[in-house]
C-alpha cells in the first residue's frame, strides 16, 4: 500500500508531495499512526502551538473510502494549544474518504497565511483562495458558501470561535461532525485557515475486493444484530444518558452529583419520541449511523444541529441542570455554528455557575446574568459570549484551567480539568479503568483515546473481552482495582488501530462485536498487508508509545498522569458507591501497574527495552533523533 501526503505551506502558498516510506506504512498503518510518525519529526517544546512553526496533520484512515463497515473516520494531530501536549482528534463524516478519492492520503499544514485563506484540493491539485468573503461566518454559512461553488465537495472549517483562537474551538467536518477536543480550531485560526475544501473523482485501490466485500458484509450483519449497536442506531449515543443516570454515574452539577431527576427529557429515546430527530445520518460507509440531524421547529428557540451526542446532552444539559431539550439543542446548534467543543463549553458553564454560587463571580462580572444551576435562560447567552469572547465569555473561552488562573481563589478546585483539558462526562470515581485511561490519555481526561467500557460488564461481548484480557470475568466490575492496567492497555492498543485504519470505535469498542480478528481481515483485504492479531495490536501499541514519547519530550512526566482535583479529592452525592474518589494513592497504584505493563520506567518514560519491543528503537529519548 502506497501513501502520499501533501505538504502545504500556508506562508508561501506552496505545496509539495511527501511519499510515506513503505516501512512507516507497515509500522503505523495510516491515520493516527502516520500522523504521530510525521509529527514526531517536528513537535518540540520550541514549537508554539499557535505560532507559524506549528504543524497540523490531517491523516486519512487506511480504510477510508472503502466499503469496510464504519470506516469513515480520520485523524487530525498537532501540538495542542490547550494542553501544550500532543493532540490527536479524530472526526467522522466524509472528508477522509473524499481526500483519498482526490488521490491524497493526508495533508501536512505548515506556516501561517498572511491573509485568511481557504484551501481547495481538487483531485490532488491545491488552490489557495481568499477567505475574505467568509471570514467571520459561522460553520453553517461556510459550508453553504462552499456548496455554492463546489457542488458535492466536502469541507473542514472553523467558526468564529476558532478565528478568535478560543482554546475550546474545534474543527468541523461538514456541518455537524467535530474534531472537537484540544483546541484544533484555534490552531486553524492562528494559521488564518478558514476551511479546506476537497473534491475527488479518482479511485481508492483495494487489494482483494471480493474478500473485502465478504468481510464487510459479515461484520455489517453482526453489528445489525447486536443490541448495543441497535441502541446506537436507533437513539444515538444520547440513548445511553438515562441509563448512565440510573446507574448513578452521570456527572451533574460540575461533578458534585452523580444523578439528576428528570434527565429522561434529554435521552435519545425522548429526542426521537418528541420528533426532534429529523433524520439519521451515517458517516462514510457506516450503516450503524449513530449520528443524526436534530431539528426543533415547533417551539422557540428553533434549531438545527448534529448529534446530539451523549457528551453534549450531559455537558450542556444534565450537568448544568438545564433539562429542556429545546434549549440544549439550541445550545448544541450554536456550538456547531461557532465551532465550539460541547464538552469544554458545558464544563466552563458549570464552572462559572459554581463560581457564581460561591460568590467569586457576581452579576457585574457576568454581564447581568445570574448563573444559577438549572436556569435555562443563561445557556444560550453564555455560548454567544464565549464565541464572541465578550465579557464573561473572554474569561471562559480558553477553558476552565485558564479561567481559574485568572479568577484565582480556590476556583481551580472545581475547574474539572487535567493538563488543561476539561474531563469528558464519565464519572471516573466509580469507573476505575476509565480513571486510569483518562489519567494517562495523551490529550487529557477524555474518552476518545481508550474508552474501556467493557469494565462495566454490560453484555456478553464486554464480559468476554474482560475475561480474555485479564483471565477473570469477575474483573468486569467498574469499582474493582484489579487488572485495570491490562484492560486499559488492550483498549488503547485497539483504539489506536481503529484510529489508524479509520474504523469507528463505536463499532468495535462499544458493542464489542467487531474484534481485532475482524480488523485484521478488513485491513488485510484492503491493503494486502496481512497481520496477525498480535501484530495488529502491537502496531496500536507502537502508536501509543510514540505518542507517549512525544509527550515526554514535551515535558510530561508521571505527575501529569492525573485527574481533575475534584475527582481525586471529593466524592459525588448520590454516587453508585458512597464516598468513591480517585485518590492520589489509587492513581499512583494504577499508573505504576500501567507503566510496568508497558515497560516504562517509574516516571512513565518508555525504556529502551520497551522501544525495541514495539519496534521504535530509533526513537529513544537518548537517540540522536530529536
Amino acid at each position: 500500500m502506497q501513501m502520499k501526503y501533501l505538504r502545504i505551506n500556508l506562508t508561501q502558498h506552496t505545496t509539495s508531495i511527501v511519499p510515506i516510506h513503505k516501512r512507516d506504512v507497515e509500522r503505523f498503518l495510516g491515520g493516527r499512526g502516520i500522523a504521530a510518525r510525521l509529527l514526531s519529526d517536528h513537535i518540540s517544546l520550541g514549537v508554539d502551538p499557535l505560532g507559524a512553526d506549528s504543524d497540523i496533520l490531517i491523516a486519512t484512515g487506511a480504510l477510508n473510502g472503502t466499503p469496510a463497515p464504519s470506516s469513515g473516520r480520520m485523524s487530525l494531530a498537532a501540538r495542542s494549544p490547550a494542553t501544550g501536549l500532543y493532540l490527536k482528534s479524530s472526526v467522522g463524516g466524509r472528508f477522509g474518504s473524499r481526500l483519498r478519492f482526490a488521490g491524497v492520503d493526508g495533508v501536512i499544514l505548515t506556516g501561517c497565511s498572511e491573509a485568511p485563506c481557504v484551501l481547495v484540493i481538487l483531485d490532488g491539485a491545491v488552490q489557495f483562495i481568499s477567505a475574505t468573503p467568509i471570514w467571520g461566518s459561522d460553520v453553517f454559512e461556510t459550508v453553504s458558501w462552499v456548496n455554492g461553488q463546489w457542488k458535492g465537495a466536502e469541507v473542514l472549517s472553523i467558526g468564529p470561535a476558532g478565528e478568535r483562537q478560543a482554546l475550546m474551538a474545534c474543527v468541523m467536518s461538514g456541518t455537524f461532525c467535530a474534531a472537537g477536543r484540544g483546541g484544533l480550531g484555534a490552531v486553524f485560526g492562528a494559521k488564518r485557515l478558514k476551511a479546506i475544501v476537497v473534491q475527488g473523482t479518482g479511485s481508492v485501490a483495494v487489494e482483494s475486493p471480493e474478500e473485502l466485500m465478504r468481510a464487510s458484509l459479515e461484520i455489517r450483519r453482526a453489528l445489525a444484530n447486536d443490541s448495543t449497536a441497535q441502541v446506537l442506531s436507533a437513539y444515538g449515543t444520547a440513548g445511553f444518558l438515562k441509563s448512565t443516570n440510573e446507574s448513578h454515574a452521570l456527572p451533574v452539577d460540575n461533578f458534585r452529583r452523580a444523578f439528576i431527576e428528570g434527565v429522561e427529557t434529554l435521552d435519545g429515546t425522548a429526542l426521537v419520541s418528541q420528533g426532534y430527530v429529523k433524520r439519521r445520518s451515517g458517516c462514510s460507509s457506516c450503516t450503524l449511523g449513530c449520528h443524526r440531524i436534530m431539528q426543533v421547529n415547533n417551539r422557540e428557540p428553533r434549531s438545527l444541529s448534529g448529534g446530539a451526542e451523549y457528551e453534549t446532552m450531559a455537558a450542556l444539559g444534565a450537568g448544568t441542570g438545564i433539562l429542556d431539550p429545546v434549549i440544549v439543542l439550541k445550545a448544541n446548534e450554536l456550538c456547531n455554528r461557532y465551532g465550539l467543543d460541547t464538552i469544554s463549553v458545558g464544563s466552563a458553564v458549570q464552572w462559572a455557575m459554581e463560581c457564581f454560587e460561591k460568590g467569586l463571580l457576581s452579576r457585574k462580572d457576568t454581564d447581568g446574568l445570574a448563573l444559577r444551576f438549572g436556569d435555562s435562560g443563561i445557556l444560550i447567552p453564555l455560548i454567544e459570549k464565549i464565541a464572541a469572547r465578550e465579557g464573561i465569555g473572554e474569561l471562559l473561552a480558553n477553558g476552565v484551567r485558564r479561567a481559574a488562573e485568572l479568577l484565582g481563589d480556590e476556583s481551580w478546585k472545581w475547574a474539572v480539568e487535567a493538563r488543561g483539558l476539561e474531563q469528558s462526562r464519565i464519572d471516573t470515581r466509580t469507573a476505575k479503568a476509565h480513571a486510569l485511561a483518562f489519567a494517562v490519555n495523551p490529550r487529557g481526561p477524555d474518552h476518545l483515546h481508550a474508552q474501556p467500557l467493557a469494565e462495566y460488564g454490560d453484555g456478553r461481548g464486554a464480559v468476554a473481552v474482560i475475561a480474555s484480557v485479564t483471565g477473570d470475568p469477575r474483573c468486569a466490575d467498574p469499582i474493582s482495582l484489579s487488572r485495570r492496567a491490562e484492560i486499559v492497555r488492550w483498549h488503547e492498543d485497539l483504539y489506536a488501530v481503529c484510529d489508524a485504519i479509520g474504523m469507528c470505535t463505536f463499532a468495535t469498542l462499544w458493542s464489542y462485536v467487531v474484534g481485532p480478528e475482524d480488523l485484521v481481515r478488513l485491513y488485510g483485504a484492503a491493503s494486502g498487508q496481512f497481520l496477525s492479531t498480535g501484530e495488529l495490536l502491537l502496531a496500536g501499541r507502537r502508536i501509543v508509545t510514540l505518542e507517549r514519547l512525544m509527550n515526554v519530550r514535551l515535558g510530561l512526566s508521571q505527575r501529569d498522569d492525573r485527574l481533575p482535583w475534584r475527582l481525586m479529592n471529593e466524592s459525588a452525592d448520590g454516587a453508585l458507591v458512597d464516598g468513591a474518589c480517585n485518590t492520589e494513592e489509587e492513581l499512583k497504584t494504577l499508573t505504576s501497574q500501567y507503566y510496568e505493563l508497558h515497560g516504562w520506567d517509574e516516571k512513565g518514560r518508555p525504556t529502551d527495552a520497551c522501544l525495541r519491543h514495539v519496534g521504535l528503537a530509533e526513537f529513544g529519548l537518548g537517540s540522536t533523533r530529536r
Binding site: G65, T66, P67, P69, G72, R94, S97, F101, S144, N147, G152, T175, G200, T201, G202, S203, V204, A205, V206, P209, L212, M213, S216, L217, R220, R221, L223, A224, S233, K278, R279, R280, S281, G282, C283, S284, S285, C286, T287, L288, G289, I293, L304
Partner: protein
C-alpha cells in the same frame, strides 16, 4: 420484474451502496465509477437515489444513435456494447431519472447491471433503504 427500490426515509446517506457498487464493478472504489448515486435532495431535507429503473419504454435505448444499449427481456437490465458506444451522452440526457451516466474521464457508460440478480448495493444497505423487489412504487413506464 424485480427492481432496485429506494426508500428515501430509510437512507442515512452513508454511501455504502456507492462504495460497494464501484468496488464490485471496477475492483477499486470510486464515487465517479458507481452505477448508483445517492444525493441529498434539498439541503438536509431528504435523500435521492439515481439508479436505473429498468423502464419498459427505455428512453436510453431509444436515444442511442449507435444501438449500443440493449435491454434484457427477462431482467430489464440495460447492457452496453462497449465496442459500439461512443459515449455521446444521448442516453444520459434521455433518462429522466439520472439512472445512466457517462464517465467523462474514461468516456464510457455507467449503468446498473443488477449484479446478476444479487445487487451489492442492496447487500450492504443495512438500514434497508435499498431493496431488490417487484413491489416498488417507482414511477416509470
Amino acid at each position: 420484474m424485480k427492481r432496485l427500490v429506494f426508500d428515501p426515509e430509510a437512507c442515512i446517506l452513508c454511501e455504502s451502496c456507492v462504495l460497494a457498487c464501484s468496488l464490485a464493478h471496477e475492483g477499486a472504489v470510486s464515487l465517479s465509477r458507481s452505477r448508483i448515486v445517492v444525493t441529498e435532495a434539498i439541503h438536509l431535507h431528504g435523500t435521492m437515489a439515481h439508479v436505473c429503473r429498468q423502464c419498459k419504454d427505455t428512453p436510453c435505448v431509444q436515444s442511442c444513435p449507435v444501438d449500443a444499449l440493449i435491454q434484457d427481456k427477462g431482467t430489464g437490465a440495460i447492457s452496453v456494447n462497449r465496442e459500439r458506444c461512443v459515449a455521446c451522452g444521448a442516453c444520459e440526457t434521455a433518462c429522466p431519472f439520472g439512472g445512466i451516466r457517462i464517465d467523462q474521464k474514461r468516456r464510457d457508460v455507467l449503468v446498473c447491471d443488477l449484479c446478476s440478480g444479487d445487487p451489492r448495493c442492496v447487500q450492504v444497505c443495512i438500514p434497508g433503504a435499498l431493496s431488490f423487489s417487484d413491489k416498488g412504487n417507482i414511477p416509470c413506464k
